[in-house]
Protein backbone atom coordinates (compact mmCIF):
# COMPACT_ATOMS: atom_id res chain seq x y z
CA UNK A 1 0.00 0.00 0.00
CA UNK A 2 1.42 3.36 -0.98
CA UNK A 3 2.25 5.81 1.78
CA UNK A 4 -0.74 7.92 2.70
CA UNK A 5 -3.29 5.53 1.36
CA UNK A 6 -6.22 4.96 3.64
CA UNK A 7 -7.81 1.61 3.15
CA UNK A 8 -10.87 2.04 5.29
CA UNK A 9 -14.44 3.01 4.66
CA UNK A 10 -15.34 3.53 8.27
CA UNK A 11 -13.37 4.64 11.30
CA UNK A 12 -14.96 4.08 14.67
CA UNK A 13 -15.27 6.86 17.21
CA UNK A 14 -15.88 6.96 20.92
CA UNK A 15 -19.41 8.25 20.30
CA UNK A 16 -21.87 5.38 20.24
CA UNK A 17 -23.52 4.93 16.89
CA UNK A 18 -21.25 7.28 14.97
CA UNK A 19 -18.21 6.85 12.78
CA UNK A 20 -15.88 8.85 10.61
CA UNK A 21 -15.38 8.44 6.90
CA UNK A 22 -17.55 6.36 4.59
CA UNK A 23 -18.82 9.21 2.44
CA UNK A 24 -16.81 10.88 -0.28
CA UNK A 25 -17.73 14.43 0.58
CA UNK A 26 -16.12 16.32 3.41
CA UNK A 27 -18.26 19.37 2.77
CA UNK A 28 -21.99 19.11 2.32
CA UNK A 29 -21.92 15.46 3.17
CA UNK A 30 -25.42 15.98 4.52
CA UNK A 31 -27.93 16.34 1.70
CA UNK A 32 -30.62 17.43 4.14
CA UNK A 33 -30.93 21.20 4.57
CA UNK A 34 -31.80 22.53 8.03
CA UNK A 35 -31.39 19.09 9.54
CA UNK A 36 -30.71 20.70 12.93
CA UNK A 37 -34.07 22.50 12.69
CA UNK A 38 -32.50 25.88 13.39
CA UNK A 39 -34.18 27.91 10.63
CA UNK A 40 -37.88 28.75 10.88
CA UNK A 41 -38.42 31.80 8.67
CA UNK A 42 -42.16 31.31 8.17
CA UNK A 43 -43.32 30.80 11.72
CA UNK A 44 -40.48 31.96 13.98
CA UNK A 45 -41.21 29.25 16.51
CA UNK A 46 -45.01 29.46 16.36
CA UNK A 47 -47.13 26.33 16.07
CA UNK A 48 -48.83 25.53 12.77
CA UNK A 49 -51.59 23.04 12.10
CA UNK A 50 -51.00 20.56 9.28
CA UNK A 51 -53.53 20.77 6.47
CA UNK A 52 -54.25 18.56 3.52
CA UNK A 53 -52.74 21.18 1.22
CA UNK A 54 -49.15 20.35 2.26
CA UNK A 55 -47.77 23.05 4.48
CA UNK A 56 -44.20 24.12 4.96
CA UNK A 57 -43.28 24.31 8.62
CA UNK A 58 -39.66 24.83 9.66
CA UNK A 59 -37.60 25.68 6.61
CA UNK A 60 -37.44 22.88 4.04
CA UNK A 61 -39.70 20.63 6.15
CA UNK A 62 -43.22 20.08 4.93
CA UNK A 63 -46.21 18.64 6.74
CA UNK A 64 -47.69 16.18 4.28
CA UNK A 65 -51.20 15.23 5.36
CA UNK A 66 -54.29 13.78 3.73
CA UNK A 67 -56.61 15.20 6.41
CA UNK A 68 -56.80 18.57 8.08
CA UNK A 69 -55.89 19.29 11.67
CA UNK A 70 -54.58 15.92 12.81
CA UNK A 71 -51.28 17.26 14.09
CA UNK A 72 -49.37 20.44 14.73
CA UNK A 73 -45.74 21.25 14.05
CA UNK A 74 -43.64 23.67 16.03
CA UNK A 75 -39.97 24.37 16.52
CA UNK A 76 -39.08 23.17 20.02
CA UNK A 77 -42.66 22.12 20.83
CA UNK A 78 -42.99 20.98 24.41
CA UNK A 79 -39.72 22.67 25.36
CA UNK A 80 -37.82 19.50 26.14
CA UNK A 81 -34.04 19.58 26.30
CA UNK A 82 -32.63 18.89 22.82
CA UNK A 83 -29.92 16.27 22.37
CA UNK A 84 -26.41 17.33 23.32
CA UNK A 85 -25.03 19.61 20.63
CA UNK A 86 -28.40 20.86 19.42
CA UNK A 87 -30.60 23.76 20.42
CA UNK A 88 -33.59 23.03 18.20
CA UNK A 89 -35.84 20.24 17.07
CA UNK A 90 -38.99 19.88 14.99
CA UNK A 91 -41.86 18.95 17.27
CA UNK A 92 -45.03 17.16 16.18
CA UNK A 93 -48.03 16.92 18.47
CA UNK A 94 -51.03 14.80 17.63
CA UNK A 95 -54.31 16.72 17.80
CA UNK A 96 -56.64 13.75 18.18
CA UNK A 97 -56.87 9.96 18.29
CA UNK A 98 -57.41 9.56 14.57
CA UNK A 99 -57.90 6.12 13.03
CA UNK A 100 -55.86 6.16 9.85
CA UNK A 101 -57.81 4.93 6.81
CA UNK A 102 -56.20 2.99 3.98
CA UNK A 103 -55.79 6.08 1.82
CA UNK A 104 -54.52 8.39 4.54
CA UNK A 105 -51.01 9.70 4.91
CA UNK A 106 -49.41 11.86 7.58
CA UNK A 107 -45.72 12.64 7.34
CA UNK A 108 -42.96 15.15 7.70
CA UNK A 109 -41.06 15.33 4.44
CA UNK A 110 -38.11 17.05 2.85
CA UNK A 111 -37.60 17.19 -0.91
CA UNK A 112 -33.91 17.26 -1.75
CA UNK A 113 -33.07 19.12 -4.96
CA UNK A 114 -31.73 16.86 -7.69
CA UNK A 115 -28.72 19.12 -8.20
CA UNK A 116 -27.60 18.10 -4.71
CA UNK A 117 -27.86 14.39 -5.46
CA UNK A 118 -25.93 14.11 -8.72
CA UNK A 119 -23.07 12.06 -7.28
CA UNK A 120 -25.37 9.34 -5.96
CA UNK A 121 -25.86 7.93 -9.47
CA UNK A 122 -29.23 6.51 -8.53
CA UNK A 123 -31.05 4.89 -11.40
CA UNK A 124 -27.75 3.45 -12.68
CA UNK A 125 -25.63 0.40 -11.95
CA UNK A 126 -23.28 2.66 -9.98
CA UNK A 127 -25.89 3.76 -7.46
CA UNK A 128 -24.30 4.59 -4.12
CA UNK A 129 -25.45 3.41 -0.74
CA UNK A 130 -26.66 6.14 1.61
CA UNK A 131 -27.38 6.33 5.30
CA UNK A 132 -30.16 8.35 6.90
CA UNK A 133 -29.66 9.22 10.54
CA UNK A 134 -31.51 11.36 13.03
CA UNK A 135 -32.31 11.84 16.70
CA UNK A 136 -35.87 11.18 17.76
CA UNK A 137 -37.88 11.60 20.97
CA UNK A 138 -41.45 10.43 21.35
CA UNK A 139 -44.08 9.83 23.98
CA UNK A 140 -44.76 6.56 22.14
CA UNK A 141 -42.62 3.47 21.80
CA UNK A 142 -42.56 0.76 19.19
CA UNK A 143 -41.71 0.41 15.54
CA UNK A 144 -41.88 3.59 13.48
CA UNK A 145 -41.40 4.12 9.77
CA UNK A 146 -40.46 6.36 6.91
CA UNK A 147 -39.39 6.11 3.29
CA UNK A 148 -37.22 7.47 0.52
CA UNK A 149 -38.95 8.30 -2.77
CA UNK A 150 -38.19 9.61 -6.23
CA UNK A 151 -40.00 12.62 -7.66
CA UNK A 152 -42.39 10.58 -9.75
CA UNK A 153 -43.45 8.54 -6.73
CA UNK A 154 -42.85 5.28 -8.58
CA UNK A 155 -39.75 4.24 -6.66
CA UNK A 156 -39.70 4.10 -2.89
CA UNK A 157 -37.82 2.42 -0.09
CA UNK A 158 -39.78 2.10 3.17
CA UNK A 159 -37.74 1.72 6.32
CA UNK A 160 -38.53 0.87 9.93
CA UNK A 161 -36.83 1.77 13.17
CA UNK A 162 -37.48 1.24 16.85
CA UNK A 163 -38.00 3.64 19.72
CA UNK A 164 -37.61 1.58 22.87
CA UNK A 165 -37.77 4.26 25.53
CA UNK A 166 -40.46 6.93 25.66
CA UNK A 167 -39.44 10.55 26.06
CA UNK A 168 -35.78 9.81 25.51
CA UNK A 169 -33.64 11.04 22.64
CA UNK A 170 -32.69 8.03 20.54
CA UNK A 171 -30.17 7.95 17.70
CA UNK A 172 -31.56 6.25 14.61
CA UNK A 173 -29.55 5.08 11.62
CA UNK A 174 -30.95 3.50 8.45
CA UNK A 175 -28.73 2.36 5.59
CA UNK A 176 -30.27 2.25 2.13
CA UNK A 177 -28.71 0.53 -0.86
CA UNK A 178 -28.81 2.91 -3.81
CA UNK A 179 -31.57 2.28 -6.33
CA UNK A 180 -30.16 0.97 -9.61
CA UNK A 181 -33.42 1.47 -11.48
CA UNK A 182 -36.06 4.13 -11.79
CA UNK A 183 -35.68 7.79 -12.69
CA UNK A 184 -33.95 10.01 -10.16
CA UNK A 185 -33.76 13.66 -11.19
CA UNK A 186 -30.45 15.48 -11.12
CA UNK A 187 -32.04 18.80 -12.06
CA UNK A 188 -33.54 21.58 -9.96
CA UNK A 189 -36.57 19.36 -9.39
CA UNK A 190 -36.94 16.89 -6.56
CA UNK A 191 -34.07 14.41 -6.58
CA UNK A 192 -34.91 12.47 -3.42
CA UNK A 193 -37.85 12.86 -1.08
CA UNK A 194 -37.31 11.83 2.54
CA UNK A 195 -40.44 10.97 4.50
CA UNK A 196 -40.73 10.55 8.25
CA UNK A 197 -43.99 8.73 8.91
CA UNK A 198 -46.55 9.85 11.48
CA UNK A 199 -49.30 7.44 10.41
CA UNK A 200 -49.98 6.00 6.96
CA UNK A 201 -52.69 3.78 5.54
CA UNK A 202 -52.06 0.56 3.68
CA UNK A 203 -52.01 2.36 0.33
CA UNK A 204 -48.92 4.30 1.37
CA UNK A 205 -47.17 1.66 3.49
CA UNK A 206 -44.83 -1.00 2.14
CA UNK A 207 -42.43 -3.68 3.23
CA UNK A 208 -39.47 -2.19 5.05
CA UNK A 209 -35.98 -2.70 3.71
CA UNK A 210 -36.52 -3.13 -0.01
CA UNK A 211 -37.13 -1.01 -3.08
CA UNK A 212 -40.60 -0.90 -4.53
CA UNK A 213 -42.30 0.51 -7.60
CA UNK A 214 -45.07 1.86 -5.40
CA UNK A 215 -45.73 5.23 -3.80
CA UNK A 216 -44.89 4.52 -0.16
CA UNK A 217 -44.35 7.05 2.59
CA UNK A 218 -43.68 4.55 5.37
CA UNK A 219 -43.32 0.94 6.42
CA UNK A 220 -46.13 -1.52 6.99
CA UNK A 221 -47.04 -1.81 10.65
CA UNK A 222 -45.43 1.43 11.74
CA UNK A 223 -46.79 3.19 14.82
CA UNK A 224 -49.34 5.91 14.11
CA UNK A 225 -48.46 9.10 15.94
CA UNK A 226 -51.74 10.73 14.88
CA UNK A 227 -53.57 7.75 16.41
CA UNK A 228 -52.95 8.91 19.97
CA UNK A 229 -54.33 12.23 21.15
CA UNK A 230 -51.54 14.39 22.52
CA UNK A 231 -48.77 12.05 21.37
CA UNK A 232 -45.51 13.82 20.71
CA UNK A 233 -42.81 13.10 18.15
CA UNK A 234 -39.72 15.27 18.07
CA UNK A 235 -36.85 15.01 15.60
CA UNK A 236 -33.55 16.73 14.89
CA UNK A 237 -30.06 16.06 13.56
CA UNK A 238 -31.41 14.64 10.32
CA UNK A 239 -28.64 13.64 7.96
CA UNK A 240 -28.59 11.80 4.63
CA UNK A 241 -25.09 10.95 3.52
CA UNK A 242 -23.19 8.67 1.21
CA UNK A 243 -21.93 5.53 2.87
CA UNK A 244 -23.04 2.47 4.75
CA UNK A 245 -22.93 3.92 8.25
CA UNK A 246 -23.88 7.12 10.01
CA UNK A 247 -21.12 9.59 10.72
CA UNK A 248 -21.29 12.54 13.06
CA UNK A 249 -23.84 15.20 12.21
CA UNK A 250 -22.39 17.84 9.90
CA UNK A 251 -22.52 21.11 11.76
CA UNK A 252 -23.41 24.03 9.49
CA UNK A 253 -22.96 27.59 10.68
CA UNK A 254 -26.14 29.63 11.00
CA UNK A 255 -25.56 31.93 8.05
CA UNK A 256 -24.81 29.06 5.70
CA UNK A 257 -27.86 27.16 6.86
CA UNK A 258 -30.04 30.25 6.37
CA UNK A 259 -28.64 30.85 2.89
CA UNK A 260 -29.21 27.21 1.98
CA UNK A 261 -32.84 27.61 3.01
CA UNK A 262 -33.22 30.91 1.16
CA UNK A 263 -32.59 29.19 -2.15
CA UNK A 264 -36.13 27.89 -1.61
CA UNK A 265 -37.80 30.55 0.53
CA UNK A 266 -37.00 33.95 1.97
CA UNK A 267 -38.97 36.39 4.06
CA UNK A 268 -38.34 40.08 4.61
CA UNK A 269 -40.41 41.71 7.35
CA UNK A 270 -40.69 45.10 8.98
CA UNK A 271 -39.50 43.90 12.34
CA UNK A 272 -36.93 45.63 14.42
CA UNK A 273 -37.02 49.03 12.73
CA UNK A 274 -39.51 51.79 12.15
CA UNK A 275 -38.94 51.42 8.41
CA UNK A 276 -38.11 48.15 6.71
CA UNK A 277 -36.83 49.27 3.35
CA UNK A 278 -37.40 46.83 0.52
CA UNK A 279 -36.96 47.60 -3.15
CA UNK A 280 -36.71 50.79 -5.17
CA UNK A 281 -37.51 51.99 -8.64
CA UNK A 282 -39.70 54.54 -10.34
CA UNK A 283 -43.32 55.45 -10.87
CA UNK A 284 -44.35 54.25 -14.32
CA UNK A 285 -47.71 55.98 -14.03
CA UNK A 286 -49.98 57.49 -11.42
CA UNK A 287 -51.07 54.02 -10.36
CA UNK A 288 -47.99 51.83 -10.95
CA UNK A 289 -44.51 51.75 -9.46
CA UNK A 290 -41.84 49.48 -10.92
CA UNK A 291 -39.88 48.14 -7.95
CA UNK A 292 -36.73 46.07 -8.35
CA UNK A 293 -34.98 44.02 -5.71
CA UNK A 294 -32.43 41.27 -5.26
CA UNK A 295 -32.93 38.00 -3.45
CA UNK A 296 -30.63 36.97 -0.59
CA UNK A 297 -29.28 34.17 -2.79
CA UNK A 298 -29.96 32.77 -6.24
CA UNK A 299 -33.14 30.75 -5.98
CA UNK A 300 -33.98 27.30 -7.29
CA UNK A 301 -36.27 28.79 -9.93
CA UNK A 302 -38.32 31.94 -10.44
CA UNK A 303 -40.12 32.47 -7.13
CA UNK A 304 -43.67 33.30 -6.22
CA UNK A 305 -43.72 36.73 -4.59
CA UNK A 306 -46.31 37.40 -1.90
CA UNK A 307 -47.07 40.38 0.30
CA UNK A 308 -48.83 40.47 3.65
CA UNK A 309 -49.56 43.45 5.84
CA UNK A 310 -48.63 46.97 4.81
CA UNK A 311 -46.11 47.73 2.10
CA UNK A 312 -45.84 51.39 1.13
CA UNK A 313 -44.25 53.14 -1.82
CA UNK A 314 -42.76 56.60 -1.26
CA UNK A 315 -42.60 58.92 -4.27
CA UNK A 316 -41.52 62.52 -3.89
CA UNK A 317 -43.47 63.96 -0.98
CA UNK A 318 -46.25 61.42 -1.32
CA UNK A 319 -46.79 57.80 -0.57
CA UNK A 320 -49.30 55.05 -1.19
CA UNK A 321 -49.84 51.56 0.13
CA UNK A 322 -49.56 48.70 -2.33
CA UNK A 323 -52.80 46.91 -3.18
CA UNK A 324 -51.58 44.45 -5.83
CA UNK A 325 -48.36 43.27 -7.43
CA UNK A 326 -47.42 41.78 -10.78
CA UNK A 327 -44.10 39.95 -10.78
CA UNK A 328 -41.39 39.68 -13.38
CA UNK A 329 -39.04 37.30 -11.68
CA UNK A 330 -36.09 35.15 -12.55
CA UNK A 331 -34.13 32.91 -10.22
CA UNK A 332 -31.63 35.71 -9.59
CA UNK A 333 -33.60 38.96 -9.28
CA UNK A 334 -37.09 40.29 -9.18
CA UNK A 335 -39.25 43.18 -10.25
CA UNK A 336 -42.78 43.86 -9.21
CA UNK A 337 -45.21 46.32 -10.66
CA UNK A 338 -46.94 47.60 -7.55
CA UNK A 339 -50.43 49.01 -7.80
CA UNK A 340 -50.61 52.31 -5.94
CA UNK A 341 -52.47 55.63 -6.31
CA UNK A 342 -51.72 59.33 -6.65
CA UNK A 343 -48.18 58.96 -7.96
CA UNK A 344 -46.42 61.13 -10.51
CA UNK A 345 -44.96 59.46 -13.57
CA UNK A 346 -41.18 59.47 -13.55
CA UNK A 347 -40.73 60.05 -9.84
CA UNK A 348 -38.38 57.77 -7.97
CA UNK A 349 -40.05 55.17 -5.80
CA UNK A 350 -38.86 53.52 -2.59
CA UNK A 351 -40.63 50.63 -0.94
CA UNK A 352 -40.86 50.03 2.77
CA UNK A 353 -42.60 47.59 5.03
CA UNK A 354 -44.39 48.95 8.08
CA UNK A 355 -42.86 48.04 11.41
CA UNK A 356 -43.93 44.64 12.75
CA UNK A 357 -43.54 41.04 11.76
CA UNK A 358 -47.05 40.94 10.27
CA UNK A 359 -45.79 43.14 7.44
CA UNK A 360 -43.68 41.07 5.10
CA UNK A 361 -42.80 40.04 1.58
CA UNK A 362 -41.80 36.51 0.71
CA UNK A 363 -40.24 34.71 -2.19
CA UNK A 364 -40.94 31.02 -2.58
CA UNK A 365 -39.31 28.56 -4.97
CA UNK A 366 -39.97 25.49 -2.84
CA UNK A 367 -40.06 21.98 -4.15
Amino acid sequence: MAYGTVNADVIGTSVAGSNLGAGDASLMKNRIINGAMVIDQRNAGASVTATNASLYTLDRWKANASQNSKYTVQQNAGSVTPPVGYINYLGVTSSSAYSVASGDYFNIIQSIEGLNCTDLAWGTANAKTVTLSFQVYSSLTGTFGGAIQNSAGNRSYPFAYTISSANTWTQISVTITGDTTGTWLTTNGTGILVSIGLGNGTTYSGTAGSWSGNYYFSATGATSVVGTNGATFYITGVQLEVGSSATGFEYVNYQTSLANCQRYYWKVSGDGASIGGFGSGQCASSVTANIIFSYPVTMRTAPTIAQSGTYTINFGAGNSTVSAIIGYTSSAYGRIDATISGATTGYGAAGWLSNGTSNFITGSAEL
Binding site: A302, T304, I305, S308, A324, I325
Partner: protein, 53 residues
Amino acid sequence: MMYQIQNDFQGNPVAVTIVGQIITIPMDEANTDYQAYLKWVAEGNTPLPAENT
Protein backbone atom coordinates in the same frame (compact mmCIF):
# COMPACT_ATOMS: atom_id res chain seq x y z
CA MET B 1 -59.67 29.54 -4.66
CA MET B 2 -59.75 31.49 -7.93
CA TYR B 3 -56.79 32.42 -10.08
CA GLN B 4 -56.49 35.46 -12.33
CA ILE B 5 -54.12 36.10 -15.20
CA GLN B 6 -51.70 39.04 -14.91
CA ASN B 7 -50.63 40.86 -18.07
CA ASP B 8 -47.78 43.21 -18.82
CA PHE B 9 -48.25 46.63 -20.41
CA GLN B 10 -48.41 45.09 -23.85
CA GLY B 11 -51.22 42.79 -22.79
CA ASN B 12 -49.08 39.68 -22.69
CA PRO B 13 -49.68 37.24 -19.83
CA VAL B 14 -46.68 37.18 -17.49
CA ALA B 15 -47.97 35.75 -14.23
CA VAL B 16 -51.02 34.61 -12.32
CA THR B 17 -52.42 35.75 -9.02
CA ILE B 18 -54.84 34.30 -6.48
CA VAL B 19 -57.94 36.43 -6.07
CA GLY B 20 -58.02 38.02 -2.63
CA GLN B 21 -54.28 37.76 -2.06
CA ILE B 22 -51.36 40.03 -2.93
CA ILE B 23 -49.34 37.38 -4.69
CA THR B 24 -47.78 36.89 -8.09
CA ILE B 25 -46.89 33.48 -9.48
CA PRO B 26 -44.47 33.36 -12.40
CA MET B 27 -45.35 31.30 -15.44
CA ASP B 28 -42.40 29.04 -14.75
CA GLU B 29 -43.09 25.33 -14.97
CA ALA B 30 -40.47 24.60 -12.31
CA ASN B 31 -42.38 26.77 -9.83
CA THR B 32 -44.59 24.52 -7.71
CA ASP B 33 -47.24 27.21 -7.28
CA TYR B 34 -47.50 27.47 -11.06
CA GLN B 35 -47.63 23.67 -11.23
CA ALA B 36 -50.59 23.81 -8.84
CA TYR B 37 -52.23 26.41 -11.09
CA LEU B 38 -51.72 24.23 -14.17
CA LYS B 39 -53.24 21.29 -12.31
CA TRP B 40 -56.21 23.47 -11.36
CA VAL B 41 -56.70 24.41 -15.01
CA ALA B 42 -56.33 20.79 -16.09
CA GLU B 43 -59.14 19.91 -13.72
CA GLY B 44 -61.44 22.05 -15.85
CA ASN B 45 -61.21 25.39 -14.11
CA THR B 46 -60.80 28.71 -15.91
CA PRO B 47 -58.92 31.68 -14.45
CA LEU B 48 -60.32 35.18 -14.52
CA PRO B 49 -58.95 37.32 -17.38
CA ALA B 50 -56.38 39.98 -16.62
CA GLU B 51 -57.72 43.32 -15.45
CA ASN B 52 -55.57 45.44 -17.74
CA THR B 53 -56.54 43.89 -21.07
